[in-house]
Symmetry: C2
Subunit: 274 residues, 2 copies
């Protein structure tokens, strides 16, 4: 439509594709923010996330992932960070791109339009969402922002969300499960110092199953991602556990060849090792 510089030229002899209209596709950035919380009456922690109530159509009144249009002066990652700050008032322990969702019909909901649940729109807007996921350290969780249109939900007990956000969250959790096994993101759910039992609880919350404490200890020790602070937690009714710190120096040693991949070693699913 406009003649902005494009990244690549359309080739002359593209006989086989019609001249598609290049009506603006708008770009949004949303963030799946995860943190550990305890459900009422339960002893173990589980994953929770904050959702924002929509104030307009479509999906007015329903819950949705926090996000918004990409400001032209922010990078995608910065936009995700601002969203997070807006929704929680906090700084993330970890922030990483999840996926860009761009199906034509993902928004608005044509099914609901047909059924008359919501009003059909003359010119349904096409939105592509670049979704990030983030973690909040457990020590900060209590300081999250309180707002009538923001509410935290357990990740496994979500209501029906706006747009395709249920699927997006599901995908985020699925990716997290895979990622936790070969990276060190688990630490980002905890504070500076933590016990092995706490770290194990993070893994168990993410993976949804119990882990052998003995073997877990050895795996973590072998990865050399933690340092013994020498301190202990006292006041428990059992042997006092040691406090560890995350070894940032080691952590960045094998994060990949280029800085570019810092927070972008995303996705993928390590299945059986082929």
């Amino acid at each position: 439509m406009t003649s902005f510089p494009q990244e690549t030229e359309k080739l002359g002899h593209s006989d086989d594709h019609h001249e598609a209209d290049h009506a603006a596709v708008s770009l949004a950035v949303s963030t799946v923010i995860l943190a550990l919380r305890r459900k009422e009456g339960e002893s173990h922690h589980s994953l929770w996330l904050p959702l924002v109530r929509r104030l307009r159509e479509p999906y007015k009144g329903q819950w949705a992932l926090p996000g918004g249009p990409l400001p032209s002066d922010q990078s995608l990652e910065q936009a995700a960070g601002s969203t997070l700050k807006r929704a929680t008032g906090l700084v993330p322990g970890y922030l990483e791109q999840l996926y860009a969702f761009g199906d034509v019909q993902r928004t608005p909901d044509y099914r609901r339009m047909r059924e008359g649940v919501i009003e059909p729109q003359v010119d349904p807007e096409r939105v592509v969402s670049v979704v990030y996921w983030a973690s909040i350290p457990a020590t900060d969780v209590s300081h999250t922002r309180v707002h009538e249109n923001i509410k935290w939900f357990p990740a496994d007990e979500l209501p029906t969300l706006a747009f395709d956000h249920n699927e997006i969250v599901e995908y985020a959790l699925y990716r997290l499960q895979n990622k936790v096994e070969y990276s060190r993101i688990a630490h980002s759910f905890l504070g500076e110092e933590f016990t092995l039992a706490q770290l194990r609880e993070v893994y168990e919350a993410i993976l949804g199953r119990a882990l052998d404490p003995a073997n877990f200890r050895r795996q973590i020790a072998a990865s050399k991602s933690i340092i013994d602070t020498g301190k202990r937690v006292e006041g428990t009714r059992h042997r006092p556990p040691r406090l560890y710190r995350y070894d940032h120096a080691r952590a960045f040693a094998d994060q990949g060849p280029l800085g570019m991949y810092r927070a972008s070693e995303t996705q993928d699913v390590a299945q059986h090792k082929f």
Copy 2:
């Protein structure tokens, strides 16, 4: 700027972020298309990719990844597919989202502007690129489209590309190396039937190192991703190798929980298995 329905509302009490202008950020889709080819005089195959010569500023005359703005009637994946068809005339063996690149200064090149190499622009356009990567089966490579502004290059001997495309290709190759070890993408570089030696060559081209034929055979056999067709290749000056087929049925069995992840189990980097 406009008041299109947005995915999430901006919250009222967002005191800490200034009202950013929402000038349109344009959205492009590019594709890193990879295929196996033989370099002049070499016996083994290596990875090649097609590039398109830019016809306008910025970076006029330089080579760039094939791509273009996202047509409003196509999904991201469809757009990547059309790009591929335009650049090669072929259908991909595999197509998957790589990453969304969205730094503010990634385009145009302010450095080159400062140095006077290219003209400064009054209103530098902000472009976010969703990049896909694709593979072309070796059997199709000879049928690729010929065009004066399209040229194939060995992936390890690229010239300086437009924008940040060198980094993008580097990242694609890095991701491919990790991915090849736990998924079955390697097959997508070959035709329907292939020998184990050919499959091994794909792995070697991607990983950049030789593999033990004996152990490679066992790994592939253990993965049960291939079926013996019973046929053999004759005419070699040695024992005739068997021909195998890719087992599609098995392949989709463990691709993840939801269809959504079909072609999107992207990124991530399986390092030491922590």
